[in-house]
């Protein structure tokens, strides 16, 4: 047991020393930030950030900052950013050695706090970002993503870039608000997962649904925040005006069940496949991308399609560009 205690002690000191080494003073540092799980983190200089979640990767891309290391999920972490790809790709995100090997000084993930992530504190402190509908985060809706921008802004010392990213998002909201009409406000929207012939979709509590309701682009018809399956007859009665179909490798065109063919949205050709499968997630960058996709179909065909999320540059989004 003595040996165990010694090692535990060593690892605690180690984790602390990783963040405590001082080199040169940066404006605003040392900084103390409280994360979404209520854990306090103190840094004497901007830490090298390792991303374990899309939300982190997307905000870093928004800030044009190079990521020190990121989890490997195929092509998904190759975001458009002049700063370039992450320096290291973590092959096994559960392995603290890989994070340590990449010289990461803070590992960013999302709530809820999990054993798996807590086990990585031996390599670097784990910072939890807000994630609506998961865990004990006090932020809900899309405001959680704005809060995340502020958190990473504090952590990196890039307050202006954080402000710019927030301004960009607010510009998108106000631009679209200006174009929203009573007609769009009353549109009924359904965002479905199309893995099988069921009606399983994201509910009103989801950030994307909250966002389009706030802007006035429509109301999601499915109740709740969990992704529950709705009875087909009930869905027919809900009668959405628009259906966004997030079917992975499957398109809405593959769908043949009789209730589907009877939906007014389908009859009126007001269905579209979403660009990418993360319509409801994980940052303002993702939301702008989804909004551009969504408003192309439901608001104005002249707003061009956003393309893949990986290649998406929010600064060039027509939704931002129209501002002023």
């Amino acid at each position: 047991m003595k040996l165990l205690n010694k090692l535990t002690l060593a690892s605690t000191i180690l984790a602390a020393s990783l963040s405590a080494h001082t080199a040169f003073a940066v404006d605003g540092f040392p900084v103390t930030v409280t994360d979404a799980a209520g854990i306090e983190h103190t840094f004497n200089q901007p830490p090298k950030i390792g991303c374990d979640w899309y939300g982190c990767i997307e905000i870093m891309a928004d800030f044009d900052l190079q990521i020190q290391a990121s989890e490997d999920s195929g092509a998904q972490n190759v975001f458009y950013t002049p700063a370039g790809l992450p320096k290291y790709i973590i092959e096994d995100y559960t392995n603290p050695e890989h994070w340590a090997n990449a010289e990461v000084e803070v590992i960013m993930t999302r709530v809820p706090v999990s054993d798996e992530m807590q086990a990585l504190t031996i390599a670097a402190p784990v910072f939890y970002l807000h994630h609506p509908s998961y865990g004990e985060s006090d932020q809900s809706g899309f405001q959680a993503y704005i809060k995340n921008i502020e958190l990473i802004g504090q952590l990196t010392g890039e307050v202006e870039k954080a402000a710019a990213a927030k301004a960009r998002f607010n510009a998108v909201i106000s631009n679209l608000k200006a174009r929203a009409t009573d007609e769009t406000r009353n549109q009924k929207i359904a965002i479905l997962f199309g893995r099988d012939d069921t009606f399983r979709g994201i509910g009103k509590g989801n950030p994307f649904c909250a966002l389009i309701a706030e802007i006035g682009l429509g109301e999601c018809v499915i109740e709740g925040s969990k992704n529950a399956e709705v009875n087909a007859e009930e869905f027919l009665k809900l009668d959405p005006d628009w259906i966004a179909y997030s079917g992975g490798e499957k398109s809405y065109k593959d769908r043949k069940d009789p209730v589907w063919g009877r939906l007014n949205a389908v009859k009126n050709n007001q269905v579209f496949d979403t660009a990418g499968n993360r319509y409801y997630c994980c940052s303002t960058r993702g939301l702008i991308h989804a909004l551009q996709d969504f408003s192309h179909y439901t608001l104005d065909n002249d707003i061009r399609l956003p393309g893949k999320l990986e290649d998406f540059d929010p600064t060039k989004s027509p939704l931002v560009a129209v501002v002023k």
């Binding site: 047991m1 040996l3 165990l4 535990t8 180690l14 096994d92 995100y93 340590a100 031996i122 390599a123």
Partner: protein, 367 residues
């Protein structure tokens, strides 16, 4: 019943065999200890996509030498804690299997085939999905109790049902165990429907049995739990030893059957449950290890249990070493399918290995 004379003759003959077995056992134990040490060293030395640690550097970290790099410290801490955890989990499961096999008088009895593992996993999953939220720092200490409770409830149900129509008979017990286990594991999967998608994914990984999230805190928790259970194991061994020769002989020797059985059953349940609580549903260790050791040391649990502890530990340690260092990229290249770059939980390898082992011996074993 045989006459007294023939019993004495048999005993004299047995004595020679037994002496030879004890001698063999000592050598085996030494060999197993060396095996454990070697697998521990390899586990700590090699890490995929990371540094190679020579023994002198490991020693430098363990002895608290200041002159070590961060990476060396992290690697040693991580690999060592995971290897120790693997060792304890494997040892606990193997002993649990040996006890259950004696109890059920069936060499195929195994925690995951007698409803013990499923009871523990179901309790933990149901609590995680439907139970109240508990503060994070308490989770690690509450989960073992929930798991033990679940294992005991499911085993008691099995026991009670098998007992309902008469005395507890091994064959019926194991049939009920498989049935109860089957119903429970279906119920576990079904209760995941109420969990959010991401959470369901985490629980599926846990159910498969993973050592990835091991911390020193886990190691300390499990070692305390095992220390508490050690006296129970010592008490169980002689009782279980009598049981495996059959109810008739055991009662003939003047042992009341049911309290002894309950003690052995509780010990086996608790050993499995504390292991399951920390790493999830690892199966088949309790089958493979005692079964292969019985060829060498015979059925006497006084020899079997210590050997099981060492070999079970070594088996899980080596398998976890492979699991930790085998990237899914290889599989991705073979199949050409897009996959996340992850390592699979150790439980997956163990259950594929154990399943094969089981089918291989099933034909040879008389049930």
């Amino acid at each position: 019943m045989m006459s007294d004379l023939s019993v004495t003759n048999d005993q004299a003959f047995d004595q020679v065999v037994v002496d030879r077995r004890w001698l063999k056992w000592r050598w085996l134990l030494l060999a197993l200890a060396i095996l454990c040490f070697l697998s521990l060293m390899i586990s700590i030395m090699i890490g995929y996509h990371s540094i190679f640690l020579v023994p002198s550097r490991i020693w430098a970290v363990v002895s608290g030498d200041e002159n070590t790099s961060k990476l060396e410290k992290i690697a040693t801490n991580f690999r060592l804690s995971r290897a120790i955890m693997a060792f304890m989990v494997g040892g606990a499961l193997a002993i649990s299997g040996a006890l259950l096999q004696a109890l059920y008088r069936n060499p195929l009895a195994e925690p995951s085939l007698t409803g013990v593992t499923q009871g523990a996993t179901t309790a933990v999953v149901v609590f995680a999905v439907f139970g109240p939220t508990i503060p994070n720092h308490l989770v690690i200490y509450s989960v073992p109790f929930i798991a033990i409770l679940g294992a005991i409830i499911s085993t008691t149900i099995t026991w009670f049902l098998a007992n309902r129509v008469g005395k507890v008979e091994p064959l019926r017990l194991i049939l009920m165990g498989v049935l109860v286990g089957g119903v429970l594991s279906s119920a576990t999967i079904v209760s995941l429907i109420w969990a959010p998608d991401t959470y369901a994914n985490d629980l599926i990984a846990w159910l498969a049995g993973s050592l990835a999230a091991t911390t020193w805190e886990d190691v300390r928790m499990l070692s305390i739990a095992l220390l508490i259970l050690t006296p129970f194991v010592f008490l169980s061994v002689p009782r279980a030893n009598l049981m495996q020769f059959g109810d008739d002989i055991a009662s003939g020797l003047g042992q009341s059957i049911n309290p002894g059985r309950i003690l052995v059953l509780f010990t086996a349940c608790a050993l499995t449950a504390v292991a399951v609580a920390t790493v999830g549903g690892i199966g088949f260790v309790g089958l493979m290890v005692p079964h292969s050791l019985r060829w060498f040391v015979g059925g006497d649990l006084r020899r079997l249990v210590p050997a099981c502890f060492l070999l079970g530990g070594a088996l899980v340690m080596v398998t976890d070493f492979i699991a930790r260092n085998l990237s899914s990229r290889i599989l991705m290249e073979i199949t050409g399918l897009p996959m996340d770059s992850v390592t699979l939980p150790v439980g997956i390898y163990l259950s594929l290995l154990g399943g094969g082992f089981f089918l291989f011996i099933l034909k040879k074993v008389k049930t």
